[in-house]
Symmetry: C2
């Protein structure tokens, strides 16, 4: 049976399976959802077992295990390792979702749910591609699945597993389907990923909170101190003011920048349809794509401490903390950046305050060599299904585990079938149903070409 026949025959049950997967609120950063993460892992393992996989096991953790599974043997054929993750981002603010984040709903050709595109929908399209090309019981290649549950929270379990058992990533190609197209109709193969250095900056100015009536004017306010530190970390023009930070940055080649300049890009439509703001920020002498793909950035994600409930409280906060992250580009190293940030925060802290920086998680950036042979098969699959050459672009995002996946020499192929407006990490995350089926066809065809 062809892949297309598989899709025609199994359309409804496959979407029902995907919904079942999406209903599990496997939020890895929130300990309250540990049991849900475990449940999602078990769901994936059971599903792969049902498709004929062997050695299906949960590895490395009771709460956030890595799912391992091996497809039926294809003697003499190459091995493809499929990487993905079953964990998802928190859904808050929940009240901005049009339908509940864990009640997947199809509207106007999209399936809405937390994890629809990041990464359950994407990983499931590969699983179904594998099913589509294995229906006579013998798949065209040896497929191995490595589906983790901490991609959104540092990936420690898989990192530890691969440190202990590096041979798990021995393969002829690693397929990482956690990426979007460049634009609808424009498939992409990624040549680089940014890294990340996610930290908490904490400030203490007082032994305890004080009343601003009694002490306002003399008692140091932790939020005020934190705000002055944060304001100094990045100029309003977008320059990160951390000494040494830009030193390790490798500029993209002229060829790379030329390719990016040929991509369709309308700042006006980008602002209105994707970003949803009045203007873009960042260093103006770089194009928006260069700012996202080839420059580090620093974002504040949230600030805690003091009084944040409804109403009013006239407190001088004793402690304040900001969650911040820096996205890193080749060849920055997150451990170096963590040190540079800590040094800068200490310099900026006034004598009345204790300031500290704690790393929450980090990942180094990745640079991929897309001249390796398996990329030719993936490009061909995209060309056949989509009728257009996949464009070589970068990603501003980070996948912490990729350096470890590449460690034994297999080329890591970063691609996927999401679209840029999928709103991953935000309310109303979605995946276009059409893109899901394209994933089944592209990755199924890729498996066939690899095995040919």
């Amino acid at each position: 049976m062809t892949i297309d026949a598989f899709i025609r025959e199994r359309e409804k049950p496959v979407l029902d399976e995907l919904k079942e997967f999406l209903r599990i609120p496997s939020i890895s950063t929130l300990p309250d959802h540990n049991a849900d993460c475990r449940r999602a892992a078990q769901w994936v393992a059971d599903h792969l077992k049902g498709l004929g996989c062997r050695n299906t096991t949960l590895l490395g953790s009771e709460t956030h295990p890595v799912v391992w599974a091996e497809g039926p043997p294809a003697p003499g054929k190459p091995t493809v390792l499929v990487y993905g993750h079953y964990d998802v981002q928190p859904p808050d603010p929940v009240d901005l979702w049009e339908t509940p984040p864990f009640d997947p709903t199809i509207r106007a050709g999209n399936i809405y749910a937390r994890g629809a595109t990041d990464d359950k929908g994407q990983v499931f399209s590969i699983v179904k591609a594998f099913e589509a090309v294995s229906r006579n019981g013998s798949p065209p290649v040896n497929v191995r699945f490595l589906i983790e549950g901490q991609e959104e929270s540092g990936g420690e379990v898989l990192t530890d597993l691969l440190r202990r058992e590096p041979e798990r990533v021995d393969a002829d190609a690693v397929l990482v389907a956690d990426m979007p197209y460049y634009a609808p109709g424009w498939p992409a193969i990624y040549t680089a990923l940014r890294g990340i250095c996610y930290c908490e900056i904490s400030v203490r100015t007082l032994d305890g909170d004080l009343h601003s009536g009694l002490y306002g004017g003399v008692a140091p306010n932790a939020h005020e101190t934190l705000v002055h530190i944060l304001a100094q970390l990045k100029s309003p023009a977008g320059k990160i003011r951390i000494s040494g930070l830009y030193e390790a940055v490798v500029k993209p080649t002229k060829a790379e920048r030329d390719a990016w300049n040929r991509l369709p890009f309308s700042e006006r439509s980008y602002l209105r349809n994707e970003v949803g703001s009045r203007a873009l920020t960042g260093l103006k002498r770089y194009t928006p794509l260069e700012r996202i793909w080839a420059l580090p950035t620093l974002e504040i994600h949230g600030i805690t401490g003091g009084f944040t409930a409804e109403g009013a409280k006239t407190v001088i906060p004793a402690v304040a903390a900001a969650k911040v992250s820096l996205r890193l580009v080749p060849k920055q190293r997150f451990k170096t950046v963590e040190r540079q940030l800590r040094k800068r925060v200490k310099e900026l802290a006034p004598p009345h305050a204790k300031a500290s920086v704690d790393l929450i998680h980090g990942a180094d950036p990745v640079l991929a060599d897309v001249s390796a042979r398996p990329f030719d098969f993936l490009r061909q699959a995209f060309r056949e299904i989509e009728g257009r050459e996949a464009v070589p672009i970068r990603s501003g995002g980070s996948i912490p585990i990729v350096p470890a996946l590449a460690k034994r020499g297999a080329p890591v192929m970063l691609a996927g079938i999401g679209l840029p407006d999928d709103r991953l990490h935000a309310p109303n995350e979605k995946l276009a149903v059409e893109q899901f089926w394209k994933g089944v066809r592209v990755f199924g065809r890729f498996f066939e070409l690899m095995g040919s």
Copy 2:
């Protein structure tokens, strides 16, 4: 029976009554506690009725009523209006309390509870002073009680009541016991209160939250914008950078500053025992007391928006908001300051952001004429009980209703029996039991002197 005899005879039951009052979590800023506020009002009304008061009523609100009560008539004698409040600040952070905030506990001569000093313990010391001098059924003066339930949240109910029925404050003196001593053994009579302008500054940069991997570097971050605005509102040296803000500020007289300079004040002990910080902040060319009593200040109380839960989320926040307040000094006006702040925030907002300022509550500062006759009686009472002249100082705090209490010409006497380390608005708020009994004696003696 003398006041001292009353205290000897009723010591234990009176403290039990106070504990009962403190057990009611009458937090006026949190709507979840509306029923508790009502319960506290009813408790006060019932208590005053039990002491022989007439016309005991709850006025102006179902949830946060003003308690009104009139003592037995003292024909031909002057009238003293007693103002206080039964509402309290929120107790958070609750985990920093050594004993639960609404389970009053006596340790080492102090009673610990939210509201112990602000203001339940203080107001109750006047109620018991009234009881002590009324035990034969005929008090030495006409006493009226006006005990509100929104002092910590803007006081709208009482403000509206006094707008409709201004004659409620017709009296020969208004006694406001919501103040601390200058220091242990140093009673104080207050010549001024700061006002307050409590606002929320909100910023929106995006239609919705975005993923920092996909958009970090070009999408405007609401927290970053808010941080840059807040950092511009006050210099690290403590100067508020809002155009026109200092214009209405009246400097204290030389005589006033001289009196303050004679007060015992050790910056070292103040830092260690009261403020609990490494250094003081604020404008260095003013003394710490001048900074608190005679200068406006601006504090950040908390910042909302983005991701603040446990763990990590790489979101670019679309909205961020800061709760801030300015303390005001004579003769600033909170409505003018609100306008000035709004104008400044609009100026500071970059083109990519929408910024707004919403007033949460406001109160004008107060300047008291302490040469009026009733002040002589209060000073005499302090002199007799404490053996020291009450010092004329100011307060950095605000009592929003005081301007309305003064409107019909009665001198408003701001005094009390708290101590500077009572930690009002903070965890482990307390009142020294000895100070409570001093209150009963001082205010009882004041009633006697007023009636003599």
